[in-house]
Symmetry: C2
Subunit: 132 residues, 2 copies
DNA sequence: GTTCTACTGATAGGGCATTATCAGCAGGGA
DNA sequence: TCCCTGCTGATAATGCCCTATCAGTAGAAC
């Protein structure tokens, strides 16, 4: 017997998901799961880390979120759809910032015979807040 | 009573350490602990992964080795003393290659007020061997 | 409001890279 | 060659991140 319902997946609009999505979109930088929890918890008291991980995972699968991988670090998450950009990792507060621009002459660094498909640039130092 | 020996640290020159050091210096690219083991094992049959980790660690502390951290990857190791350079990560064979050159106009990417201390560039694609 | 069931929080469990443990081995000075 | 002790291999233990589990909760369609 066929169900009378369509095969649509539910995807409920819960308080927790709203808080998490909001926190990520509000931030102008990639957030770690821990940071997402801290930023979203006020809008959804009692929010658990498991729900954060679940929501991040489904966000990546759903295409509105992407993971930002940095050397020796657990991934951060930012919304998709932004322009090509890179990141600045503050060694003091450990936050990651988005930076504009890109030296797009990287092709000439590629060794002969190698096929360049993508690149990643990470700047390290102190953010404005930590530098003073 | 003072010992008649100086306070020098021993640092024995063992077959295993020779094999590991040799493997790393022979390679023209950063090696993972696993790769070090595979490369060094023929010259020191029965070599264990624990010894590789121990030797890598003391090598970094001793200053002749440095860790190469890549996004979402366990660190690789290469000898210190090389010129400033970056790396190419082959998505097919997972090997990491050293590349020359650097677009040293990264300062202008740094946001106002931020203090730039270092940077990392990683190229992704297929190495010559995997590209054909 | 009722009902169905996806969602949630707490936490146990899993995966993986690295380190600690420990008995036996092997540099290397005497 | 002898002896001291640092070194080694096997593997248990750790640490960190993330996922699975499960009973209770709360969207949302009717």
């Amino acid at each position: 017997m066929l169900s009378h319902q369509s095969s649509q997946r539910s995807e409920r609009d819960t308080q927790q998901r709203r808080a998490i999505r909001s926190a990520i979109e509000r931030a102008d930088r990639p957030l770690s799961p821990r940071e997402v929890l801290d930023q979203a918890e006020p809008q959804s008291p009692g929010l658990g880390i498991a729900t954060v991980y679940r929501t991040l995972k489904s966000g990546v699968e759903g295409g509105w979120l992407q993971a930002v991988e940095l050397p020796g670090e657990a991934p951060r998450y930012e919304p998709t759809g932004k322009e090509h950009h890179h990141h600045f990792h503050c060694r003091s507060c450990d936050r990651v910032y988005e930076i504009e621009g890109c030296p797009d002459d990287l092709r000439h660094l590629t060794p002969p015979g190698f096929a360049l498909e993508a690149h990643e640039i990470v700047l390290y130092g102190r953010c404005a807040e930590c530098a003073r």
